[in-house]
């Protein structure tokens, strides 16, 4: 049933309907509303049986989730920014152990300088952690992706990170159709762990692996991600059948077919990009949008197919690899190495990505006036003063 609620609340209620058995909470903006809402649902008995653990750090949060998952419980936590980095060691561990934990990342910049606003620096820094990464364009999708995330995670026995833009989505109140319990139950079977700490069947989980087998373990991890490229769209299809709406999957092309210029982006900025592109198309500009829902595993084939007809590609991303440029760009290049690609770094540290700016940017792009690496709305006077 559709209701006008905050994104965090929608995610919390959706997660609750996925019946997690252990939820770990450590406060960090902007994910706090999610675990606050879950704590209320657990305290009220609405979500039961479920253990809500107030941990002492994000490192502890992921660790508790690891223990819970290894003991056969459906485990969930949420974090952002510094918190994600603080749990980085445990992230690799969760994926290395093949534990199907689902975590919301309310994307936020990383300090210093400290900044609580949205960009993708946090989750991008963990792109190689072995977690599946899904990026929500809207709050509706954010909610829906969590249901799919548990399915994907448990089918593959891999952890899944659902990324939603901090504040922009988490704190936005919108009309959202929170999946009903019946729907979720029909879609998401109870967790049947593929490995579990069980006194009746003692198992060693997490043995030390030396040079003789580490490569093989990593190879297998990669293979599992490749398998995820099949599982993710299938789950999205099944979701659409059950819930009567489309969300998730690998990529979301929007007017790509026949477009000379395609803007690749992920997250909530896609809405503004689509608005802008619609205007440009109305003015006769041949331009489309490719939203990346799945960033890890990187859907090379899907991206290549979507960009087949494009003459130029603009990758708009909310994170920067200092000394290198675009993070997503590097992966898109892997899909279409022969196409001209420009990178636009936009919206760092919460700077709004406005339609006005985008319009100017895309106009330049279409006219091939864009630098290979452009910083949207960069205050040139400030940086030049510093650089001089």
């Amino acid at each position: 049933m559709r209701s006008q609620i905050e994104g965090s609340r929608a995610v919390a209620e959706t997660v609750a309907r996925c019946r997690p058995e252990v939820v770990c909470a450590y406060p960090i903006s902007p994910q706090t509303h999610i675990v606050e809402a879950l704590s209320v649902l657990v305290a009220s008995g609405e979500l039961a049986p479920c253990e809500f653990v107030n941990v002492e750090s994000e490192f502890g949060a992921m660790s508790v989730a690891i223990g819970a998952s290894a003991a056969g419980a459906r485990a969930y936590t949420a974090t952002a920014s510094q918190g994600l980095l603080y749990m980085a060691e445990a992230l690799y561990n969760a994926s290395g152990l093949g534990l199907p934990i689902v975590m919301t990342v309310a994307n936020r910049a990383i300090g210093a300088p400290i900044n609580i606003w949205n960009d993708h620096s946090d989750s991008m820094s963990q792109r190689d952690s072995g977690w599946i990464q899904l990026y929500a364009e809207t709050n509706q999708e954010a909610a829906d992706l969590h249901v799919q995330a548990f399915r994907i995670a448990e089918e593959l026995s891999l952890p899944v990170m659902v990324c939603m833009d901090g504040f922009v989505l988490t704190h936005a109140v919108e009309g959202i159709d929170v999946p009903s319990q019946e729907q979720v139950d029909a879609f998401l079977p109870p967790f049947g762990p593929q490995q579990v700490l069980d006194p009746d069947d003692p198992m060693t989980i997490g043995a030390m692996v030396g040079p003789d087998a580490f490569t093989e373990v990593r190879y297998l991890a990669h293979a599992k991600h490749l398998r995820a490229l099949e599982v993710i769209p299938r789950v999205a299809d099944e979701f659409a059948t059950t819930f009567w709406r489309s969300s998730g999957g690998l990529v979301r092309p929007y007017g790509c077919l026949g477009a000379d210029t395609v803007v690749v982006a992920l997250g909530s900025v896609l809405g503004t990009v689509k608005d802008t592109v619609d205007e440009l198309r109305a003015e006769g500009v041949s331009i489309g949008v490719l939203g990346l829902t799945t960033f890890r595993p990187f859907p090379y084939d899907a991206v290549r197919a979507a960009l087949r007809g494009a003459r130029r590609v603009v990758v708009l991303e909310r994170a920067l690899a200092a000394g290198m440029g675009g993070i997503v760009t590097a992966d898109v290049c892997g899909s279409v190495p022969d196409k001209p690609i420009t990178t636009v770094i936009a919206g760092l540290g919460g700077r709004p990505v406005t339609k006005k700016s985008l319009r100017g940017l895309l106009t330049d792009a279409v006219a091939d006036r864009l630098e290979p690496l452009t910083f949207l709305d960069l205050k040139h006077d400030v940086v030049e003063r510093e650089l001089s």
């Binding site: 006008q4 504040f167 936005a172 109140v173 896609l270 503004t272 608005d275 919460g350 006005k356």
Partner: protein, 193 residues
């Protein structure tokens, strides 16, 4: 698309005001989006809330730079530089005050059909006993902009609050609505006269 920007101070319920407005619109079957300025403002600091209302899905999440309406929950903010920024020439302005526009130094924007003051804090104190003008202002907003019906605002208030807080707010919303209607009618008469 109708875009509203709400200015107030931390602790005055700016976020709630934006949310209530979006819920009121949602209750009328429209698309709505409410969101606050994102930050770590503490009690008393100037804060801004936003609300978009449309009949098509709202995709953009950028802050509202050129609002169709500005609601000022705390008149002491009126001379802050950004408060009226981007407000269209025919945009609406709703100010919570018991003073006149002239007294506030706002003679320049004195467009009686678009600009309205309402003593929302006093109304809130009367009906609620607490100085929370947010919902009250939405009663006046409904009268001023006709973007939402007052009944939708009341429904949103009832969804959000319960007990005496709900009752008090509803009463205050009605009062504010009636007050605003009267002011607007008077202004209309003045223009026709």
């Amino acid at each position: 698309m109708f875009e509203v920007r709400i200015h107030g101070r931390g602790g005055q319920g700016v976020v709630t005001t934006a949310e209530l407005l979006s819920v009121a619109a949602f209750n009328e079957g429209r698309q709505a989006q409410a969101f606050p300025t994102f930050g770590s403002e503490r009690t008393g600091a100037p804060v801004v809330g936003f609300c978009r209302i449309a009949d098509q899905p709202i995709r953009s999440h950028e802050p509202i730079a050129a609002p169709d309406a500005v609601i000022i929950q705390d008149a002491t903010l009126i001379h802050q530089p950004d408060v009226l920024a981007g407000l269209r020439a025919d945009g609406y302005l709703l100010v919570n005050t018991s003073r006149s526009l002239a007294e506030l130094g706002l003679d320049a924007v004195d467009r009686p059909d678009r600009v309205l003051t309402v003593p929302a804090t006093e109304l809130a104190l009367t009906h609620l006993g607490r100085p929370l003008p947010g919902a009250v202002l939405l009663g006046a907003f409904a009268a001023l902009t006709a973007q939402v019906r007052v009944e939708s605002v009341i429904a949103a208030v009832r969804e959000r609050f319960s007990g005496s807080v709900a009752t008090g707010n509803v009463a205050a919303v009605r009062d504010a609505y009636d007050l605003a209607r009267r002011s607007l009618q008077e202004a209309a008469h003045a223009i026709t006269d």
